[in-house]
Structures are given as C-alpha cells and as structure tokens.
C-alpha cells in the first residue's frame, strides 16, 4: 500500500495536485482510493469540492481520466470523502497516477488535506 499526501492545511480557495511516481506505484496494485478531509466542509458552506484522479501507463507522458467525485456543497456529519476505483494496467511498471482537488472559492475558511491510497 502506498499513501501520498497532497498537502495539509490547504486554505480555500485551494488548487492542488498530487502524483505518485511510477517507482512508487506497485505494479501489482489493482485499486486506488482518493480521499480528502471534509470535516470542515459543513452545512452553510456552498463551495463545491471536486477531486479527480488520472492514470498514465507510460510513465507520465500521456494521462487518461480515471475517476472523479464531488460534493456540491458542505454537509454536516462527515469526516472523509472518498471514491475507490479499480486501477487498470496491473503489472505495468510505468504506471503512474495523480489526483487533483479543487475548491474554487469559499464563504468560510476551510482547510483540508488529500490522500491517494493504492492497494
């Protein structure tokens, strides 16, 4: 399992990206979970949070969309939002993945962090 943290304490508006190099991505990995902290994305916050994950099979030359997930606004009661998706290209040592988390604007200060968990 490999875990990469995008950043912690990202202020909103935030725009971050993350990538796990091919050397860090186990060629046998078959699933990726993209997760981010929503403990401060609460009721009353109308800012959408959008996370997207891309995959490359050639060491980062070309990238293909893999999956994405979004919260249209804040909701109470959650601590972690995530989407788990199968990883194509099992056995490929050149495989890379990257993720991007975007929140365009904010009405209240929010901090968050993001992780990619590969298994």
């Amino acid at each position: 399992m490999a875990i990469a943290t995008l950043s912690t304490g990202l202020p909103v508006p935030l725009l971050g990206s993350i990538s796990i190099a091919a050397t860090l991505l186990d060629p046998a990995a078959s699933s990726v979970t993209m997760q981010w902290d929503i403990s401060q994305h609460l009721d009353g916050n109308t800012v959408p949070m959008h996370a997207q994950c891309d995959v490359s099979q050639d060491g980062g030359v070309t990238w293909d969309f893999l999956c994405s997930a979004e919260r249209d606004k804040g909701y109470s009661g959650g601590s972690l939002a995530f989407i788990t998706h199968p990883l194509p290209g099992v056995g490929n040592a050149l495989r890379m993945i990257r993720a991007t988390l975007v929140a365009a604007s904010a009405i209240t200060p929010v901090t968050t962090s993001m992780q990619l968990v590969v298994s």
Binding site: A69, D72, L80
Partner: protein, 680 residues
C-alpha cells in the same frame, strides 16, 4: 441465440460523502447491446436521502429497470437501497460512467454490459425484496436463453461478510456504511433464483431483473396452431384458376396466459405520479388518500422504520413548526422528535468530549456539555518552551482561577471564639458559704495540685484537642503536601480543579522540563579553592609547542637563554623563531664531535675520494722484479671485455707452414676482361 455477458468491471467502485461520481471502469465491446448499472445507497439512519438521482453512460441517461428498486430499507444502523439502471444499445468502447444526486451519500456504483439482448427492451421483469437473514434470495421470471441479474445491499449492522452465489458480478465488504454485491445466472423460467450468503444475519435489500433475448422480429409472437381457425373462405376469381382460393384467418384470444410479452407491448416506466416517491417513506407527509397506492400493482406496503413507530416518549412534545399538511391523510400525525433525540449541535464542535462514557448511546436524556474551560488542555504548555520553575505556578499558569476553599476546609469561626485563656486561680479559702462551686467541665478544671503543690510543668493541653466541635478530618490524598515538592518550588494548593476533575489524566512532564536527577545529587558544596601559585584562574596547562620545549641536554651549553621562564607560562604568547644565531645547526647533531686530525693543507673544498680499483698499486707486484707498471691497462682494466677474433683474422694454421706468404696484399681474381669499343 441466448443472452451472454459482454464485459464486467472487475473491481468495485465505492464512494462516500459525495454527490456525484465519474468513472471509467468498463469497455463495452462491439458486440455489446445493453448496459446495466448496479447502484447501492447506504448511509447512517436518518441521513437525508439522495434525490434527483441521475445515472449516465457516455452522457446518455440510464433508467431504472421497472420494479428493480428496493426503495429505502432501514436497518438498525443504516438506510440501504439497491437499484438497477438499464440502457439499451449503449455506446461501445470505454466511456464515462457517471452519477449525480443531491445530498451527500455513500454507496457503490458498478456497471456491466450484455450482448445478444433485445435492443429495445433488454431488461424486464424487475423485482425487489428485502428482509433480515443470512440467506438473502430473490426470484426472477427469467425464461430460457435469458439471464437473471440482481444486486444486494447489506445493512452492515453486524459486520457480515458477503458471498454472492451463482456467478458473482461484484462483491465488496469494505464499505463505510455496509456491504454490497451482485450476481447473475442463466434464465431457468419463472422461478429463477438468485441468492447471496451472509456470514451472519443482517438486513438486506435485493433488486433483480431479467435480461431478455431479442423479441421475435417482424412477425409478432409465435402462437400455437390451435389458436387459429378459418374465419372465412372466399371463392377465388376465375382468372386465378380452378385451384386458387383466398382465405382469411383471425386470431382469437388465447385462454392461457403468455409468458412472453406480446409484440404490441412496449415496456414503459410508470409515469411520474405512479412512481414510488421514496421521500414519502421517510418522514414527510404521505398522501395515502389517493387511489394511487391501491391501483399500483407494484406497490408493496412497507413497514414504518422503528424510529417512526409510536412511542410514548415522542408524544411528549407537541408538533412544532409543522406546516399545514393539506395532503396529509387523517391518520397522519405529524410529530417532531422529542427533545432528547435532537442532535445537540454543540457536540459537533471541537471541544473535548468524553467518549469513554457510553452514556450517549444508552441514555436518551443525556445532553452533552462543554468541558469547563479550566479542564481544557493548554496546548501551549505542551510545547518545549523553557519554563521557569522558580516562579509561582499560579503566576505563570493563565488557566488558573483562584477558588475559595471548599466549605469543609474553611476555618471554623467558632474555633476562633473563646480562645483559651488563663482561668483565674480559684482560691478555695475565699469562697463564701453561698458560693456554690460549679463544676467546670473536666477539661477546664484546674489542677489544684499545681496551685498548692510544688510547681511542675504540666503537659501542655491543646485547646484544639478538647474542642468537642472539632471534627478531625484527614486530608484527602491529593491535598497532602508533597514534602519533597515543598522544599523549593512553589505549590499551588488553592485550586481544587485538578482534584475534582475525574477526567483529568495526568501527563508526564516533557523531557526538557523534567529536572535532571543528576542535579539533585551531590548538593553543591564549597570545594576548597585550589589556587596554584602564580597560576591564573584561566590557566590551562598545555603542551608547549615543540620548538619551545627546552632540550635539557642543551642546558649544559651556554647557548641557551634560561633567564626568562615567562615565555613558557604565557598562553597568549605566540611562538617565535629563535634568532638565527640561537638556532642549533642540525648538522652538528649528526656526528658526535670527535677529534679530527687537523688537516692543514686540506682546503675546505677538498673531497676525499677513493682511487678506483684499477689504480690501486698491487704491492705484490712491486716486489723483487722490475715490472713495467706503465702499461697494465689490459690486466687492470675492469672494463676490458675480451672479444673473439673475427673469423677472417684467425690464423690459418696450415698457412703457417712452408714459405712465408704475403698476406698483406691479395690480388683480385680477374673473371673477365673489359672491352673497349671505340665508335668513329
């Protein structure tokens, strides 16, 4: 031709706390004729259900297979729902599988494709079921050559593992709010069964449907011959010949029900007003007065979730702020949650809560409270900032709040009164007859013997000890003075916060704050000052540079200035080179002085040399006979290397015989004569 699986996503897609997803889990081959999505919604009880759910493949909307929607089923822990979405003739290749809804929710979203299906209505006979058991099952009307497919949502209240039987489509027990799975099997008729095995009994919801082969094209439904009869026979025209004729047939309604859908039947979803509004199943007013429920054959009565059952406790608080429900049936009683069930928003804040207690879960009347500010951990104190322990704790602790002593510790003012005083001496002799001596209580009696007898010091009697109002108490342990601490550091004993806080968890001082135990040992004592004579306090003995080391051997020589030792003891002095005249000539160190014979005639540049061997006189040869030593080169030349005469110089012995020959000139042998030609 039978239906077959075209492509399946190998791993499950799971989501949590989101309102939309996009994924690329599937590549539909060119043979694919239908796509089927399995959507599982699972979330904590009472979470607002997702609404306006839209599922798409390549941006083309997929629709719920009629009947294949369990609606919301409440388990003890979670609300679960299983739905199948279908799409005929989907775009082949790898495209985006997406979904969106309002209200963040958790669940699973999977998709697979089929081939050999009907291209108009690939999915039919949708059914759903729910229950609580370890063996969920559902029966699908799936004729031969069709396939039955279903998906299951598991409540997760007991953490059961899940194993789809028949052929597994997907299964995942790692969900945040329960588990899910799906399976399919070849159609076996009206009672085709799909089952799943759970490790323990749990609440489940199963949605399933039939994947059907193409409906017979361009001819309607094939029917049995006996269902027809000649209705009319008409004589043909003469022009058509004697054997020609026309006949007309008419199909009569059959008595036995057809399993297959007639050609004219076009499957359609219920119009909006007939669809089950899952929102109505939750808490909002449900209109049961209309005839929709009675006439919808797919409607199934649902059991109110437990939390909606009438409970006396819920009736305590009258409904508040409930807008008039015009459509509400008379039987509907709008209620609000009793106050003890309302979520205390303050509990969601970041204040410390006591999670170690199970009171929240079991005591419905429990209301979370903030911890008093004095119980909050002062994060700043955990930092490694140097703390001055020499000062009073009360002065440096901003959280300290002075408090009065507890009542039991207050000084009993009664004890201040009637302080012990010296009782005046009562002289018995002066007592008038009318005097009625009163008997002092024993503790006030004066020992008469002390008055008349020899004075001795009676033992001191403490007033406190004789006060009947005094109740001796034992300090509680935490109030006892730690004598060890009382020696040097200030101790704040006025605050009782620590002692009364049952949740207080003592922390170990950070390492840098812990007094070094070594410092406690060996109390500093005045060691006798040892002042070396003439040695300054900053004197650091060291090794003199080699060039300052006195060669004691040289002290016997006058060429050594020992009159000033200051140089050796001045650490600030930089070493200097001896003046040239003081420097010792190293060449003098090499050869001990010996009495060399004075060489008067030898110039200073004379270099004694040894004669080469060949120039030595051979004394032996000098004896007796006269020898010519003038030319002894051959014999004495060590560099002489004898050589062999070249062959031509060898004497030919045979020639030495006879007459003398002149070897000095050998006439050339004439082999030819020259000819001279003169041309005129």
């Amino acid at each position: 031709m039978a239906v077959a699986v075209d492509a399946v996503n190998t791993g499950s897609i799971q989501f949590n706390q989101v309102t939309s997803f996009s994924a690329t889990p599937l590549t539909i081959t060119a043979s694919g004729t239908a796509a089927l999505a399995s959507i599982i919604f699972e979330e904590n009880n009472g979470t607002t259900q997702p609404s306006g759910v839209s599922i798409t493949w390549n941006s083309v909307a997929m629709s719920i297979v009629p009947g294949a929607d369990t609606g919301v089923i409440a388990s003890i822990a979670h609300d679960i729902r299983a739905v199948l979405y279908g799409l005929a003739s989907p775009a082949t290749g790898s495209h985006t599988f997406a979904g969106s809804w309002t209200n963040a929710y958790a669940g699973y979203c999977e998709i697979m494709s089929w081939k050999g299906t009907d291209t108009t209505t690939p999915f039919k006979n949708g059914v759903n079921a729910s229950g609580t058991s370890a063996a969920p099952s559902i029966t699908v009307n799936s004729p031969t050559n069709d396939f039955a497919v279903g998906c299951l949502a598991e409540g997760g209240e007991n953490g059961a593992s899940l194993t789809p039987n028949q052929t597994s489509w997907w299964a995942d027990t790692g969900g945040s709010r329960g588990a899910g799975g799906a399976n399919y099997t070849a159609g076996a008729g009206a009672s085709t069964s799909l089952t799943t095995t759970l490790s323990v009994s749990e609440t489940w919801a199963y949605a399933a449907c039939d994947v059907q082969v193409p409906i017979v094209a361009s001819g309607g439904t094939q029917v049995a011959k006996q269902n027809f009869k000649v209705n009319k026979f008409k004589t043909p025209l003469r022009s058509m010949g004697p054997n020609a004729g026309l006949f007309q047939v008419r199909a009569f309604p059959i008595s036995a029900p057809f399993v297959d859908v007639p050609l004219s039947y076009v499957s359609r979803p219920f119009s909006t007003q007939w669809n089950l509004n899952s929102n109505l199943l939750r808490g909002t007013a449900q209109d049961t007065s209309s005839s929709a429920v009675e006439t919808n054959p797919h409607w199934k009565g649902c059991q109110w979730p437990a939390q909606w059952s009438d409970t006396g406790a819920f009736l305590l608080n009258a409904a508040i702020d409930v807008p008039p429900a015009i459509d509400a049936p008379p039987s509907f009683m709008s209620k609000s949650w009793s106050i003890q069930w309302n979520i205390n928003l303050s509990l969601r804040r970041n204040t410390a809560q006591d999670f170690s207690s199970s009171a929240v879960e079991t005591n419905p009347h429990w209301i979370g409270n903030y911890l008093p500010s004095k119980w909050d951990l002062n994060r700043a104190l955990r930092l490694n900032i140097a703390q001055d322990f020499s000062s009073s704790v009360a002065e440096t602790n901003p959280q300290w709040t002075g408090k009065p002593w507890p009542r039991v510790w207050n000084l009993l003012e009664a004890l201040w009164q009637n302080a012990a005083i010296d009782v005046p001496t009562v002289t018995v002799a002066d007592t008038p007859p009318s005097f009625v001596p009163l008997q002092f209580s024993s503790q006030w009696n004066v020992d008469v013997s002390l008055v008349h007898g020899a004075g001795i010091d009676a033992a001191t009697i403490s007033v406190v000890e004789t006060n009947t109002h005094f109740i001796s108490r034992q300090f509680i342990a935490q109030w006892n003075f730690n004598r060890a601490l009382g020696r040097s550091t200030a101790q704040d004993t006025s605050s009782s916060a620590v002692e009364t806080n049952i949740h207080f968890v003592p922390h170990t001082w950070p390492v840098p704050w812990i007094p070094a135990a070594s410092l406690r040992q060996n109390v500093a004592t005045d060691a006798p000052t040892v002042v070396p004579p003439d040695a300054p306090t900053y004197f650091i003995p060291g090794q003199l540079p080699w060039n300052w080391v006195i060669n004691l051997l040289l002290t016997t020589s006058p060429a050594n200035d020992l009159t000033s030792p200051a140089v050796e003891t001045n650490p600030h002095r930089a070493g200097l080179i001896y003046p040239k005249q003081w420097q010792t000539q190293p060449s003098l160190w090499q050869n001990p002085a010996t009495d060399a014979p004075p060489v008067v005639d030898t110039p200073s540049y004379f270099i004694s040399k040894q004669l080469l061997l060949q120039w030595n006189l051979n004394r032996v040869l000098g004896r007796n006979i006269a020898a010519d030593f003038s030319s002894s080169a051959v014999e004495t030349n060590v560099y002489f290397t004898p050589h062999v005469w070249p062959l031509r110089w060898d004497l030919q012995a045979s020639l030495t015989r006879g007459t003398a020959q002149d070897f000095s000139s050998v006439a050339p042998v004439v082999t030819s004569r020259p000819r001279v030609y003169i041309y005129t």
